[in-house]
C-alpha cells in the first residue's frame, strides 16, 4: 500500500489506448464518441518528452515552431525579455494545459518556456494535428477553445486592479485550474517563485508577501513554505470577482 494519500500532480502515463489522466484533449475526443481505436491516429502524433529539470528551457523565443505541447506534470513558465533586459512573465502552465499555442500564427515561438520544477510534456506535431482536426470536429473545437483561453488569460490582469484583487484572482484561477484536472481546489503547491508571481501580477515581491501575509492573518489562506491552503475560498472568490468576472 502506498504511504502517500493525495494523487501526485504528475500525471499517470497513458498508453496506446488510454489517455493520460490530465490529457488536454481526452475529454473533447471522448465526448465526441470516438472509439479508442479511432484515437490511435491521435496517439501517433503524440510524443512523450521529458523530464525537464528546474530551469531547463523547453523552447526559446524565435525557435522554429513545429509543435504544441501539453503539460503532463510540473509547471512551465513562459516569459519574454523586454528591450531593457527585464523579464516579463506571461503565464504559468499546469498539468493538462497546452504551451506553444501563441506560436501558431508566427511559425516561430514568440516567447521562452522554462520548467519551474520537474516537467513532463506531451508533444504534438502541429501540422499533423491540424490535419487531424479537420477530420475530427471535436478536436478542432477543443483547439479553438484552448486558443481563446490563451488569448483571454493575458487580458485578465490588464485592468486597474488592487494588489489584493490581483492576488486573490491569481489564487482562485489556480484553484479552478487544478480542480478542473481533478486535483484539490483548496490545497496546492505554489511551484512559482515569489519573484515570478510578482512579475506576473505586476507587483513588487515584497507586496506579494505582504498581501499573502494579510490574507493569512485574516484567515483566508494558510501558507507554509510553498504549500498553500485556501481556508476561506468564498471570500477570496469575492475579492477576485472584478478581475475574473465570474
Amino acid at each position: 500500500m502506498s504511504v502517500k494519500r493525495r494523487p501526485s500532480p504528475i500525471a499517470d502515463d497513458g498508453d496506446e489506448i488510454h489517455f493520460c489522466s490530465t490529457c488536454a484533449f481526452s475529454s473533447a475526443c471522448q465526448s465526441e464518441g470516438y472509439s479508442k481505436s479511432a484515437l490511435e491516429e491521435l496517439h501517433v502524433l503524440v510524443e512523450h518528452i521529458g523530464p525537464f529539470r528546474e530551469g531547463d528551457h523547453i523552447f526559446r523565443e524565435d525557435d522554429e515552431f513545429n509543435a504544441i505541447a501539453a503539460v503532463r506534470g510540473g509547471t512551465v513558465k513562459t516569459y519574454v525579455v523586454d528591450t531593457d533586459g527585464n523579464e516579463q512573465v506571461l503565464g504559468f502552465f499546469l498539468p493538462g494545459e497546452v504551451i506553444g499555442l501563441n506560436a501558431i500564427h508566427h511559425a516561430k515561438y514568440p516567447c521562452n518556456a522554462v520548467a519551474l520544477d520537474t516537467v513532463m510534456l506531451c508533444r504534438f506535431s502541429f501540422p499533423k494535428m491540424a490535419l487531424l482536426a479537420s477530420k475530427m470536429p471535436g478536436l478542432q473545437a477543443q483547439l479553438f477553445r484552448l486558443l481563446s483561453q490563451d488569448i483571454g488569460k493575458a487580458a485578465l490582469l490588464a485592468g486597474d486592479y488592487s494588489a489584493d484583487q490581483r492576488m486573490a484572482a491569481f489564487l482562485i484561477a489556480l484553484s479552478r485550474r487544478y480542480a478542473a484536472r481533478g486535483f484539490s481546489a483548496t490545497r496546492f503547491h505554489l511551484t512559482m517563485s515569489r519573484t515570478d508571481m510578482a512579475n506576473y501580477l505586476r507587483l513588487a515581491p515584497e507586496t506579494v508577501s505582504r498581501v499573502l501575509r494579510r490574507f493569512q492573518t485574516e484567515g483566508m489562506i494558510a501558507v507554509e513554505r510553498r504549500e498553500i491552503e485556501l481556508t476561506q475560498k468564498e471570500q477570496l472568490e469575492q475579492l477576485a470577482r472584478p478581475v475574473l468576472r465570474n
Partner: protein, 471 residues
C-alpha cells in the same frame, strides 16, 4: 489538547529511579534532526547559496534568526563540552569581531531585505568576553545590515558569565536592545565549584540577576548542572533554593555528560569525584520536586519555566519549537549561524561553520561563506524532523493532523518505527492509539528515548561514541 495538557505539565513528572536507570543510554538530544554527525562535507558554499536563494522565493519568506558564537573564555570550566578557546587576551576578541563583521556583511545581502530578524542570540564560550562597547559596535553593524523587527516579540538574548560582568554592563546591554539573559550558575556549592574550576559567588550572581530585572530584561534564565564532581543532595538542594528564591523566568537543569574522549577540557576533571549513578538520579529527582513545588512548569528535556513565561504559554498553544538554542517560540524562521562552529538552518538544510578558529578565519578572509559541512534534507528527513520536533516540544502527536500536513498514511509510513515504539508502550512510557501518540507522565523525562524510535539514522553502535546519556 491545550488546557488539559498544560495542567499535566505543571504537575511534576513522576520520578521512577528504576525506569530511568534502565533507559539511561546514549542518544541524541534532537536540537536538530538529522543530528550534526549526519552533516557531510559534500554540502558546499554553492549549495548554501542555492538554499538561501530559494528561501527568499517562498510566497511568504520566513523571518530570520541569528546566532552569534563567541568562542573565548577567560578560564576553563572542566565540565565544558562547548567549542571554546581559553584566553585572557582581549585583542583576540577585537580581531574576532572584525571577522564576524566580515562574515555578516557577506551573508546579509543574500537575504531579501523584507525578511525581518525576529531573534538574535549570542552564545559561547563567553559572549561577554567581548566588552559592552564591542558588543554594541557589532549590534550597530548587524542593525545596519539586517532588517530588525520592531515587534515586541523580538528576542535579543545573550549568555552571561556572571563572573565577568558588572551591573553597569547589563544596563548597557539593555540599552542596545537585549531583552533576554541566560546566566550560567551550575552549582553554588564551593566544593563543587572548586572541582570544576568555576568559582562564582552567590552575591555576584544575584547582583547580575537583579541588574537584568532593573534594566528591563523581559526574561532571565539560569543554567544548573547535575552530576558534577563532589555534588551532594544537600549542596544542590541549597543551590536550588537560592536560585528559586530569585524567581528566574526559566531554569535549565542539565545532566553532566562525562565524555573526556570527545571533550578535552573534561580530562582535567577528577573522575573519582563524580557522583554515583544513584546520587545523580537523586539530584535530578530533587530538582524536579523543588522546581515543581515552586510552581515551575516542566517544558521538556532539561527545561523548566514559570507558567506565565512565553515558553510555557507557547507549549500550551502547541506552538513551541526546538532548535540549536534550545526551546524557542521562533523556529518557523530561517536560522543564520555566524562565527566559528555555528550552525545555520535555512530552508530544508543544515550547514555548519568550521569548528576551529583558523579554518573559519581563512574562509572569511578569502571572501567565501565559511562552510565546513551540512546537508540538504530529504523528504523523509523533513517528515521525521517535524515529528521529532513536535514530540520533543509537545510530548504528543495528533496523527490525523500529521497525516494531513505531510500527505502520508501514518501507520504505514512509520510501520517499522511503531514496532520499536511498542516496546516502550509496554514500559508505560507512551500510549499509542489510532489517532494519537502521547507520552505518559512517566515518559516525559524520556522524550528523547521515545523520539529516537523515529530516527532513521540511529545505529546503536555509533551512538555510544557520539551522544551523551539520556539522564
Amino acid at each position: 489538547m491545550g488546557g488539559q495538557y498544560y495542567s499535566a505539565m505543571i504537575n511534576p513528572p513522576p520520578f521512577d529511579a528504576d525506569l530511568l536507570r534502565r533507559y539511561d543510554r546514549p542518544g541524541p538530544r534532537y536540537t536538530s534532526y538529522p543530528t550534526a554527525p549526519q552533516f557531510s562535507e559534500r554540502f558546499k558554499e554553492a549549495d548554501l547559496l542555492d538554499v538561501i536563494r530559494r528561501s527568499n522565493e517562498d510566497p511568504i519568506p520566513r523571518p530570520l534568526s541569528i546566532y552569534v558564537h563567541v568562542p573565548f573564555c577567560a578560564s576553563p570550566c572542566f565540565y565544558c563540552g562547548c567549542n571554546r578557546i581559553i584566553t585572557r587576551d582581549v585583542k583576540r576578541g577585537e580581531k574576532y569581531l572584525e571577522e564576524l563583521m566580515r562574515e555578516a556583511a557577506m551573508v546579509a545581502p543574500l537575504f531579501e531585505s523584507d525578511r525581518e530578524v525576529m531573534q538574535l542570540h549570542f552564545g559561547g564560550g563567553t559572549p561577554n568576553f567581548l566588552s559592552p562597547l564591542e558588543i554594541g559596535r557589532f549590534m550597530d553593524f548587524l542593525q545596519r545590515h539586517f532588517h530588525f523587527s520592531t515587534s515586541e516579540k523580538r528576542d535579543i538574548s545573550i549568555e552571561i558569565d556572571p563572573r565577568c560582568v558588572k551591573p553597569d554592563d547589563i544596563a548597557a546591554l539593555a540599552a542596545m536592545g537585549f531583552n533576554r539573559a541566560s546566566l550560567g550558575v551550575q552549582d553554588f556549592d564551593p566544593e563543587v565549584q572548586e572541582a570544576v574550576n568555576r568559582i562564582q559567588s552567590v552575591e555576584e550572581t544575584l547582583a547580575v540577576i537583579k541588574a537584568c530585572r532593573e534594566s528591563g530584561f523581559k526574561s532571565v534564565n539560569v543554567d544548573l548542572i547535575y552530576g558534577l564532581p563532589k555534588q551532594t543532595v544537600a549542596g544542590f538542594g541549597k543551590t536550588l533554593d537560592t536560585v528559586i528564591e530569585t524567581r528566574p523566568d526559566r531554569i535549565a537543569v542539565y545532566s553532566y555528560a562525562h565524555m573526556p574522549q570527545l571533550f578535552k577540557p573534561q580530562r582535567q576533571l577528577d573522575e573519582t569525584l563524580l557522583p554515583s549513578g544513584e546520587t545523580k538520579l537523586s539530584l535530578l529527582q530533587l530538582a524536579i520536586e523543588k522546581l515543581s513545588q515552586a510552581g515551575y512548569c516542566y517544558i521538556g528535556m532539561d527545561h523548566f519555566a514559570l507558567p506565565e513565561d512565553e515558553l510555557a504559554i507557547a507549549q500550551e498553544r502547541g506552538d513551541l519549537h526546538r532548535n540549536f538554542m534550545g526551546y524557542t517560540t521562533h523556529a518557523d524562521s530561517d536560522l543564520i549561524g555566524l562565527g566559528v562552529s555555528s550552525i545555520s538552518h535555512i530552508g530544508e538544510s543544515f550547514s555548519q561553520n568550521p569548528r576551529d578558529l583558523g579554518s573559519w578565519e581563512i574562509a572569511v578572509e578569502s571572501g567565501h561563506l565559511p562552510i565546513w559541512r551540512g546537508m540538504q534534507l530529504s523528504e523523509d528527513d523533513v517528515i521525521r524532523a517535524d515529528l521529532i520536533q513536535h514530540w520533543m516540544c509537545q510530548g504528543e502527536i495528533d496523527i490525523p493532523k500529521f497525516e494531513e500536513r505531510h500527505d502520508i498514511y501514518f501507520h504505514e509510513y512509520f510501520a517499522e518505527d511503531l514496532k520499536k515504539l511498542r516496546a516502550l508502550q509496554d514500559d508505560d512510557l507512551v500510549t499509542i492509539s489510532p489517532t494519537r501518540l502521547k507520552a505518559t507522565s512517566r515518559g516525559r523525562l524520556l522524550l528523547r528515548i521515545i523520539a529516537a524510535c523515529f530516527d532513521a539514522y540511529l545505529n546503536p553502535s555509533a551512538t555510544i561514541l557520539q551522544f551523551s546519556k539520556a539522564i
